[in-house]
Symmetry: C2
Subunit: 167 residues, 2 copies
Amino acid sequence: MIQSEVQDQVISRDELFHQWEGHRKLTRRTLEAFPEKELFTFSIGGMRPYAELIKEMLSMSEAGIEGLVSDKWHEVKEGDHFGETEYAARKQYLLDRWDALTERIAERWHLIPEGRFQEMTLAFGQYNDKGYRLLLYFIDNEIHHRGQGYVYLRALGIEPPPFWDRP
Amino acid sequence: MIQSEVQDQVISRDELFHQWEGHRKLTRRTLEAFPEKELFTFSIGGMRPYAELIKEMLSMSEAGIEGLVSDKWHEVKEGDHFGETEYAARKQYLLDRWDALTERIAERWHLIPEGRFQEMTLAFGQYNDKGYRLLLYFIDNEIHHRGQGYVYLRALGIEPPPFWDRP
């Protein structure tokens, strides 16, 4: 464990928000880049199709923003058993749900109480960690699974959106 | 652009260090998990083998810690054209270089000057951004490429190390 003597601010709340927002924009572009059918059916090495990874990200971030604001950590029910729905409509559903959450995060961010990021917080009844670690887990998990989506796209012969382009 | 009224500390310098360190440990375990030959030869969809992704991470982080400390941003020369070297020795070279850098980052971290993370910094003569954004780019790029390594491992029938295990 190193201990630095300098204790300056490294990143502000608003900067952390924009970091998350930038990653969410890139993940949305990656979702858009998938052909409708392959989004739900294509996978490598027994992994989940990209749509399932997107649902995990949605579920985690939907519950996550609510938890950070209110300290109520309810798992979000997937609620999207598509049945016989056409792939195009399913993809649109995921895009719409993504956009709704992006708006919700922007609206709710300033309601995260002062101190939450440095407080120990029991998330989902089982993860006891500081608020910033929980949030970085949501973001890092998204980057991780999006990177996997990039491999799926390449394997399908599709150029993924540039990784560095996160305004 | 949202503007929060609350300006509390969200993450300290030392916490940011441990965040980076935790990811580097997981990336090392992912490197270890690869069979020696496939580390250098296996790829999907025309992408680079995992060894090349590791070299990119090494190069970026070796130059990156130096740049954050001294504001001198020299690209690190790859310097590892293996020629006819055996795969086992090449893998060991990457692991050793990884470990040396891990030590170096731990030694140098406290030398990053106060204010660097919030200063605009011109990295590598072309990326003009705040210090924290540069560092998060190094980390996020590592998570992104490591996620791709997970797909390679799964495609090879190998279980990757658990993503959540980053002490």
